[in-house]
């Protein structure tokens, strides 16, 4: 069963059409990598899925629930969109940790704020917060940051900051975890530790969408690849199909060039 279904998504900024007609679906537990040159619309696609941009056309379904339909005003209201965002997690290129909180606080804060909306918050507050804290400890430990819990973001390396950001996104238990070029802002020697963490996340039920320029990584981790060009999905399939036997000329040119770089 498809956990995510996107149909005919389109988005313009002024006169520039950034997404033209995007449709795809994703199976639960699969990893999808979105590739393509700069300006092809990859990041905008992720931002539309996370409702940081509002698409002009198209629909988004998660677990068969219609989250967004550009033609149905009831699905685009800001108040409801906030809850819908929780189906998705997003790890940013530039981390965007909250500088005034420690690594642990960064991971706990969003969960604590959300817990306030639970019906029996006042009664169960202590227990809820204990669970949130335990979960945050575990996540940071998984990220290899058990020793760094009390550090503020500026005291951490870029790779460590990105791992905290991944833990923060995981703490919300999203259905689909998205990565927007998670290693592009890192020094080359730090990309490895972040890619390794993402690779370890794969498995079980975890569904992920990764926008990246790391070709070898994408080929290794992905169940499916989407190659985008100029707002369209130019090519899609398994890594073998897309990397080794691309059908379109643009995909051929793109992959032969990126192979040269490696």
């Amino acid at each position: 069963m498809a956990i995510l279904e996107v149909n005919n998504l389109a988005k313009s900024f002024g006169n520039t059409k950034v997404l033209k007609d995007i449709s795809f679906s994703l199976e639960k537990g699969n990893v999808l990598s979105v590739l393509g040159s700069s300006g092809s619309g990859k990041t905008t696609l992720l931002r539309c899925l996370n409702f940081l941009e509002t698409a002009d056309h198209g629909t988004i379904r998660v677990r068969d629930e219609l989250l967004f339909d550009a033609d149905d005003a009831r699905t685009t209201r800001e108040r409801e969109i906030r809850r819908k965002r929780l189906h998705f997690g997003l790890v940013f290129q530039s981390f965007n940790l909250f500088p005034q909180y420690t690594a642990l606080q960064n991971v706990m804060l969003p969960c604590q704020l959300l817990a306030k909306e639970e019906e029996n918050y006042k009664v169960r507050k202590k227990q809820m917060f204990a669970e949130i804290a335990a979960n945050a400890h575990d996540l940071l430990k998984t990220m290899g940051l058990a020793e760094r819990e009390g550090y503020y973001p500026h005291q951490l390396s870029g790779g460590q900051q990105q791992r905290v950001a991944i833990a923060r996104a995981l703490a919300m238990k999203p259905d689909i975890l998205c990565f927007d070029e998670p290693t592009s802002a890192l020094d080359p020697e730090l990309t490895g530790e972040v890619l390794r963490v993402i690779r370890d996340l794969k498995g079980g039920d975890r569904t992920m969408i990764i926008v990246t320029h790391e070709m070898a990584f994408a080929r290794n981790i992905s169940d499916r690849i989407i190659f985008m060009h100029d707002g369209y999905i130019e090519e899609t399939g398994t890594p073998e199909q897309v990397f080794d036997h691309p059908r379109s000329e643009r995909a051929k040119a793109f992959f032969s060039k990126s192979l040269e770089e490696i």
Binding site: F88, G89, P110, Y152
Partner: protein, 228 residues
């Protein structure tokens, strides 16, 4: 020197009264201008363009004219032109008019500092909050506000120190603050005439008070030093 020692108790009593007036104006201005500035800064960033342009026009006028003229206009204009001397001629009325002028003037300066502070917070902070399911209010109060405060503390401190000294402008509408009190002995007051030193001695009050403020504001700055 002996003469100065003799005059000292009278002069100090008078300067203290003047300084109390200075201090009152300083505190009232801060209490009024710090929150009003935030309202004005939101107005100047509003998506409603008439409101935005009106606010920016007011900021332009207030920052573009001397505070001294604003004091004269706010105090004298209602009686002169509208024939409604709303402030009254007494000390309380002069203080009220001075407070209104100072609050308006400083709120506009604060508003621009706030706006700079708000706009300097990267959009990524807000987006991260949104993606993590926070409301706009939670994002403002739990994420961006403290970062903004950290950034505006140094420029606001500057304005606050300037305000201490600017209060002396209020004597143009005969508000008897400390410089007025010091100057009175030049001409003659309470049996002391032609005494120059009280006027210069007011500088000691300003120095001590701004020194105290510098320590307090520096402490606040250091307190926010734990993050970057």
């Amino acid at each position: 020197m002996a003469l100065i020692m003799e005059q000292m108790p009278i002069v100090l009593r008078s300067l203290n009264v003047g300084f109390l007036q200075t201090l009152k104006l300083f505190i009232v201005t801060l209490i009024g201008a710090l929150p009003l500035g935030l309202v004005i800064s939101f107005g100047s960033m509003s998506k409603v363009s008439p409101l935005r342009w009106l606010t920016r026009f007011v900021i332009w006028v207030v920052r573009g004219t001397p505070l001294m003229i604003q004091l004269l206009i706010i105090y004298y204009f209602p009686g002169l032109v509208l024939k409604k001397p709303i402030w009254g001629g007494g000390e309380a009325g002069r203080f009220l008019a001075a407070s209104v002028s100072f609050i308006l003037n400083y709120a506009c300066y604060f508003a621009e500092i706030y706006r700079g502070g708000i706009q300097s917070i990267s959009k990524g902070q807000t987006e991260a909050g949104l993606v993590l399911g926070m409301t706009r209010g939670q994002i403002f109060f739990r994420v961006t506000l403290l970062q903004m405060i950290k950034r505006i503390v140094p420029p606001i401190s500057n304005e606050i120190i300037t305000l201490v000294k600017d209060t002396s402008l209020a004597r143009i509408i005969a508000l008897q603050e400390i410089i007025w009190a010091g100057q009175a002995f030049l001409k003659g007051s309470q049996g002391i005439s032609g005494a120059i030193w009280p006027l210069f001695f007011t500088a000691v009050y300003y120095l001590l008070f701004s020194g105290l403020l510098t320590i307090i504001l520096g402490g606040l700055e250091r307190k926010l030093d734990y993050f970057k």
